[in-house]
């Protein structure tokens, strides 16, 4: 019973996560991968399932309540995912700009948690130009100017 409840909570939360992601990481002509390219929902699922139970429940509650109640922030009724992507984006923007602390907190949490998933996809990292000096020894490791130390020897030790 408990397991079934958790499964349905997960489904609703993932619908909410997908709805927020679609609005925040749309297809565009700027070369940045979209929510679809970044496989957001599947990766969010594995993140949720890796989290310890208390944190998982917190995030599931966040996205499930967004999915079920988020439409209430816009003048339309129904599930958040049924609003147009443009409208969903406006809802998140409005939440983030809200002078009411809990609403702002909610808006920021939506942006932060979805961008954690977005910004960790390899295609997005490639788009940013990220590479690792340990994978390419020496690459980009420009030594600091040799006289740098003279500015204040031992200032930090």
């Amino acid at each position: 019973m408990k397991a079934r409840l958790e499964d349905s909570l997960l489904d609703v939360a993932l619908a909410g996560f997908g709805a927020v992601s679609e609005a925040l990481y749309p297809e565009s002509d700027c070369g940045a991968p979209s929510h679809r390219d970044a496989d957001m929902v599947a990766r969010a699922r594995s993140w949720f399932l890796t989290l310890p139970p208390e944190s998982r429940r917190l995030l599931l509650a966040l996205f499930a309540s967004m999915e079920l109640l988020g439409a209430g922030f816009a003048p339309a009724l129904g599930r958040f995912s049924r609003l147009s992507a443009a409208r969903r984006l406006r809802v998140v923007e409005r939440l983030r700009a809200s002078p009411i602390a809990p609403l702002k907190f909610l808006g920021d949490a939506l942006k932060q948690s979805t961008s954690m998933i977005y910004l960790s996809h390899p295609a997005v990292l490639a788009h940013l130009g990220v590479y690792k000096s340990c994978d390419h020894p020496g690459a980009g490791l420009v030594p600091v100017r040799a006289d740098a130390l003279r500015s204040a020897p031992g200032a930090t030790s």
Partner: protein, 504 residues
């Protein structure tokens, strides 16, 4: 021996001379000293060993597995913000930037004056402890060769503002400058305490480390410690395993400033309200500069360069980087405009400001039995922090930044000129407008000669019970003003050597 999940899954009942709860900087040093003194020592650690093959650079997954609350732990209060902490063998030393600095003399004086710590801090004993710790952790200034442009730009920005600066001393050996410290050192270069203090004694059988074992309480009989008990947790499925018990006459709590008070409170030890009652933290903000030049901020030692403010006592600047999926989450707006700006990230340089504020609060036992943290950050301290931030912003602008952002609300999103950055000096700024982090927590079980100020006496013993000691960041009477790991280790070294009867 290091006992993994399969060794402990169904629970256990063992005995030893001294049980150390927590394998972070405080616990590892204490355990190594007890073992050196020939005491049978068991370390009980809630988290697993982080093996290089289990490491992933996908930060959300790494945090979910190896950080408390999956990396989502928060401090509540007037400036809510994250308070991260490692949950693995080695504690936060596995995931931190390995900066190692000695406790400044002026903080030693405050601790001596306000809490009577002179007998611990004034002689040469603490200096020798720092030396031992620095040797074991191979501390050295970050080599110039692994700085990368990001650290160099921070160096230029600080010099522009005439803030004396230099390479930060770190506990690393052969750092490759991959800027990935926050998800563990894939290359095994960081000298986290699992390497520097636990590995060798565990391999030769002088210490047993019981992993995946969450201590619930200290077991007491007639006001004396007789051991600890708790339950096994599978670090992958989070399922509970069997119960365990470690019998010992001496219990050393080193579960960190968030968890040590929780274990005491759950054991019925409240120290007349002092346990958990004096939580404090350094407050921290970041300044993100976008330069004209390509910086490739993901290249170069995570926090290789820094400075101690000459004008604001207790304020530090440190170059910073972390996985884009962590450092980028507060970046700019949302939607397509944000996607268009993402290309700017390769032009970014970041400096973090860390300030010894007068932020005080409490650790309570939360609903799930874990810590619930809250802090009050004085507005005046936030204004001081903003003065420091203005220096950093001006420094970046002075060396050619296109713009600098602090991710705050109520001030312009971006500062393009020093004049625009004067908004940071507005006296109407309130703590909740600032995006703060609290990764340096301490003080929740303060050590003090005065029993009205702290529940822990100068021998590290918890007052009112026999055989229970604290040896971690919870001890600090107030902020250390510099990164705390070295001081936690040195204090733990002094206290544990005394307790074990080793030469100081």
């Amino acid at each position: 021996m290091i006992a993994g999940l399969e060794d402990v899954r169904s629970g256990y009942d063992v005995d030893c001379d001294v049980v150390v709860v927590g394998s972070g900087p405080g616990g590892a040093v204490a355990a190594a000293n007890f073992a050196e003194a020939g005491l049978r020592t068991i370390v009980v650690e809630a988290g697993p060993v982080v093996r290089p093959e289990d490491m992933t650079r996908a930060a959300p997954l790494f945090l979910a597995r190896y950080y408390w609350e999956g990396g989502l732990r928060m401090v509540a209060g007037d400036a809510p913000g994250p308070a991260m902490g490692g949950r693995c063998v080695g504690g936060s030393s596995v995931v931190n930037s390995a900066i190692m600095l000695k406790l400044p003399q002026w903080v030693r004086e405050i601790w001596s004056r306000e809490d009577g710590l002179g007998p611990l801090l004034d002689g040469a004993e603490l200096d020798r402890a720092f030396e031992r710790v620095f040797r074991a952790c191979r501390v050295a200034p970050t080599p110039l060769a692994v700085m990368g442009r990001r650290n160099e730009i921070v160096q230029r920005a600080l010099s522009h503002q005439r803030v004396p600066n230099g390479p930060l001393p770190r506990a690393v050996h052969g750092c490759e400058g991959c800027a990935d410290c926050i998800t563990g050192c894939h290359e095994g270069r960081k000298q986290s305490v699992d390497r520097s203090h636990l590995r060798e004694p565990a391999e030769r059988g002088a210490i047993d480390v019981m992993t995946c074992s969450h201590v619930d309480r200290v077991d007491l009989r007639g006001g004396r410690a007789v051991g600890v008990s708790g339950h096994v947790v599978d670090p992958v499925t989070w399922r509970r395993g069997g119960r365990f018990r470690v019998r010992a006459k001496r219990v050393v709590l080193a579960a960190g400033a968030a968890h040590t008070p929780v274990i005491l409170l759950r054991s019925g030890i409240s120290g007349r309200g002092l346990v958990g009652g004096t939580l404090t933290a350094h407050i921290s903000v970041g300044a993100f500069a976008i330069m004209d030049e390509v910086v490739d901020p993901w290249v170069g030692a995570t926090q290789g360069w820094g400075a101690i403010s000459p004008d604001i006592r207790g304020l530090k600047y440190e170059a910073l980087w972390a996985a884009p999926s962590l450092i980028g989450v507060n970046w700019g707006g949302v939607g397509e405009p944000w996607l268009r700006e993402l290309g700017d990230m390769k032009h970014a340089a970041v400096v973090a400001l860390v300030y010894r504020a007068n932020a005080w609060g409490r650790v309570r036992v939360g609903l799930g039995g874990g810590p619930r943290l809250s802090l009050r950050v004085p507005t005046a301290d936030v204004h001081t922090l903003m003065r420091g931030l203005k220096v950093a912003v001006d420094g970046f602008l002075g060396v050619g930044a296109r713009y600098v952002s602090a991710g705050m609300t109520g001030v312009p999103e971006r500062f393009g000129t020093p004049r625009e950055a004067e908004a940071l000096l507005d006296r109407r700024i309130r703590p909740r407008q600032v995006k703060m982090t609290f990764n340096h927590l301490f003080g929740s079980c303060r050590i003090s000669a005065d029993p009205r100020r702290g529940p822990v006496g100068l021998d590290g013993g918890v007052r009112g019970v026999d055989g229970v000691y604290v040896m971690d960041g919870a001890l600090f009477p107030s902020g250390s003003a510099v990164n705390p790991q070295a001081t936690i280790m040195a204090l733990s070294d002094v206290l544990s050597r005394r307790l074990a009867g080793l030469a100081a």
